[in-house]
Symmetry: C2
Subunit: 333 residues, 2 copies
Amino acid sequence: MKVAVDAMGGDHAPEVVVQGALKAASEWGMDIILVGDRDLIDKKLGSNQGMTTIEVHHCGEMINMDEPPLKAVRHKKDASVVVAFDLLKKGKVDAVVSAGNSGATLAAAIFALGRVEGIERPALPGILPSENGNVILIDVGANVDCRPDHLFQFGIMADAFAKTYMAMTNPRVGLLSIGVEGGKGNEQVRVAHDLFKNSPLNFVGNVEGRDIFTGQVQVIVCDGFVGNVALKLSEGMAEATAKMLKENMMRSFAGKAGLFIGRRAFQRSTERLDYAEYGGAPILGIKGVGIVCHGGSSVKAIKNAIRMADDYAKSDFKDRISRQIVEYQQSVA
Amino acid sequence: MKVAVDAMGGDHAPEVVVQGALKAASEWGMDIILVGDRDLIDKKLGSNQGMTTIEVHHCGEMINMDEPPLKAVRHKKDASVVVAFDLLKKGKVDAVVSAGNSGATLAAAIFALGRVEGIERPALPGILPSENGNVILIDVGANVDCRPDHLFQFGIMADAFAKTYMAMTNPRVGLLSIGVEGGKGNEQVRVAHDLFKNSPLNFVGNVEGRDIFTGQVQVIVCDGFVGNVALKLSEGMAEATAKMLKENMMRSFAGKAGLFIGRRAFQRSTERLDYAEYGGAPILGIKGVGIVCHGGSSVKAIKNAIRMADDYAKSDFKDRISRQIVEYQQSVA
């Protein structure tokens, strides 16, 4: 298996991306192609330039975080993320990882690989820690202004992803709303509720924002605007909480002493809030493997995303997802 | 000043509501009318039945948490929340506090008191702790399916609320979206962005979910669906984090010892995440004072909400808010 990594994508590219790739290659022996400006990448590779498991594929353009995705992908044919998915289309690699402009990554993936039959809107799941294992939130930013049937497609895809990649047997699926009763929520959610209710999914009804952390459900469906707000809010709150707690503890002698003595237990706790554990999320609903990482990804996040890409490409997950999507869509048609 | 408290509203009513009212009356000498089933309330008051600062106003109905708000308010004329706002309309009290069905509280308030000129949709602000003081999130659940100009009205109201009630001098106002650039977000947010940009508000542009906790802005505007998800997510995450941290610390001897030694500093930290500090939020955009509390409000939250109602009714805040709304609306008309 070979993974193309968009070396120019992310807030700290190419530095952090190259470091992450080096770690994935040295720790797990991953085969990687770094796509981007050869001079810049070589400089970051330094003495590791000779590694046999890391190649560089040069290209002359990149897409910035604030560029309009569709326009950028259409016009910059030599942009790193476009070239990376082109390598995948041509069979030169088995998966793509990018921490760049996520809209552009999504557009490049859809243009190069196409959509799975029955899926109008490929979507991005987010994997969040809860009190009872992981929770998949879908969509976390690929699609704003969704129709109710788009939400239903997200649910089917996340259910298949949970069963295959996350090894959950019969994931409980909830629809994110502002009250647990079916009649609560906005127009979009009220209509989607009926689609889910009549489907073969293990649908438990509406859930609220707090349920993301209780783990009562394993899949939570919402549109990409709400999901992206929720994901970034969780990240921001986890960071702020850990920081504030540490600062407060450091303010008194007893706090400092307590923090020192209980430091390992404290560390374990803040690790549970570490969103770098799963480095990225696969684009669900495309014919191939594309992993989208957070723009602010750390070295560890990039490393883990490359492992996810490799795992995902090795398995038959994507075919199983495709089958389930077709089957479920037919069952409610 | 006299505050009517909906004794039948909330997940733990009337018990918790009556306890909160008793505390507000005994600690601060608040004048309170408890509205609801006299027998039930008297039982909870117990030996405090004789307190001169607490009256009971009997009514024979109540609105449940899961009832459709508009229908319930229209048909149950003798429901506690409807009767409470009726007392306010008749000048018998100066403010109303309810932890019941928030949709019903809002509807009862609007029916009884009417809207401030220029406001189509009264809204509910949420007051959240951040690294740099409090942040007002508006709307946290009164309005789903909003138009862009509704979001703009929310911004004006929260700005006035921040300046008057929260004593912020020139609050920075942000629009909750999924990217900081003006072009990012859904259709609703993109149009609202232009309304804000051309207004006299101290508008800093789009903000993301994580900015709720950094305190870079003091007012964050979103529709009630997104705001309610965000508020409940924050609450759920704060609870889950504190619980998980404590459990992890208690798992090892060093952790236990550390927690014991640093317990005061630890407590201070979790208190910062305590959403009961501000017991409730005033309905902005109505001609009068109505405070909406969380259904799961604690005794402390009810007590603080009654103080907020009293403060709010004593001040000329609501008139100042009305003036600013008219002025700002005209400035962009």
